[in-house]
Symmetry: C2
Subunit: 224 residues, 2 copies
């Protein structure tokens, strides 16, 4: 781009390199500022060069998702089933949440069979733990679904907060200030706590996760 070299040398590009730069851009800037043209310019290459390695934007995103999850293995520790389940969910949350690019790619994933590989390996582990704990076939599947929904929902909420550090907190503060204490007495009363926890998504996640797991332990205790 700065050099203005008219033609890039023969093997400047590779699928790996393209995904690398795509992830870097998605880490740094919001989804809507990403485009094939921008990515190509960033790589110092014509736009159409990308199409030698990927059929299109969607396939590139798919590859990016796979790359970012490739090194993930759910922890298979010791201890009681509910502890292991907790660790597995926390690990999944950290994968989704650890990198802005993942969150943005996650929000984009529409087909549902994206993030499938990690989903499969995590689901296998969760289902095995749930079955071993004594849940029925139906219960195990439903519990797995609940954990997935909660974990994904929690991660997705972070997409909004990740624009800036405390932008989210001040937005909430503002919104609370606009409420009248008459119509929303409890909410305005709990304002300080709302603002505080808005800045700690993981604490929020852990609390709800413990709730779900407590519910599961109850179910196991009732059945056993």
């Amino acid at each position: 781009m700065s050099t203005g070299r008219s033609r890039a040398p023969r093997n400047t590009l590779s699928a790996e390199l393209i995904v690398d730069r795509a992830l870097a851009l998605l880490d740094a800037r919001p989804m809507e500022s990403f485009s094939m043209r921008v990515l190509a310019e960033d790589l110092g290459v014509g736009t159409m060069a990308l199409y030698t390695y990927f059929r299109g934007k969607e396939e590139l995103f798919r590859a990016a998702r796979e790359r970012v999850l490739a090194d993930y293995v759910p922890p298979s520790g010791e201890g009681p089933w509910h502890e292991q389940l907790r660790e597995a969910c926390l690990a999944a949350y950290h994968v989704f949440t650890g990198r802005p690019a993942v969150l943005r790619l996650l929000a984009e994933a529409s087909s549902g069979d994206d993030f499938a590989d990690i989903a499969m390996v995590t689901m296998e582990r969760q289902l095995a733990l749930l079955r071993a704990a004594g849940l029925s076939r139906d219960e195990a599947v439903l519990a797995n679904g609940a954990l997935l929904r909660y974990t994904l929902g929690s991660a997705l909420r972070e997409v909004k907060a990740c624009t800036s550090e405390d932008f989210h907190a001040t937005a909430i503060r503002k919104r609370l200030a606009a409420l009248s204490p008459e119509s929303h007495p409890t909410l305005t009363d709990l304002g300080p706590e709302m603002v505080r926890f808005a800045q700690d998504g993981e604490a929020q996640f852990r609390f709800g996760l413990d709730l779900v797991i407590t519910g599961l332990r109850e179910k196991v205790a009732a059945a056993g």
Copy 2:
């Protein structure tokens, strides 16, 4: 469009009518097929006519979200707090899930202060119930966050499934068939149940909701 009238009469348009048609289009067709130009053509009007009523696409979407949630009031029934909480969450789930357009608009909402009005009225109600049940200030806020995350996460999962009736189920069947029983024994074993519940999002939602609420009742019992 079919008439080819060169200029639309003076007051064919209104903010209400525009939002109406926008919602109709979003109910019928996926998000990516929606555009200001398509909407204008559907209304039999020049594209720029829309900009007399809305500053832009984002503001139109905001109005559509508000419209669709305007008639919603969380149920304020009788009975124990955990029953009322359950009903409130189910009602929110039904609002999000009852209409394809809502789901698509929900998935699009990035700023986070969208869906805020319904969020505020629902949050006030939930927080009041949680406090009355005996939870601490911190616990009430965290519990409210957990319920929100789970409900939104569950609704968002339906966006994918709502493309077609059983498209989702066959996609899962296919994916399961591709797995080797050696690497994913539990998952392949539970295949039939996975497929069955994939077609019943609400059953999934109810199961997890009960888990969370059971967890909350435990917490209340422990504190009381």
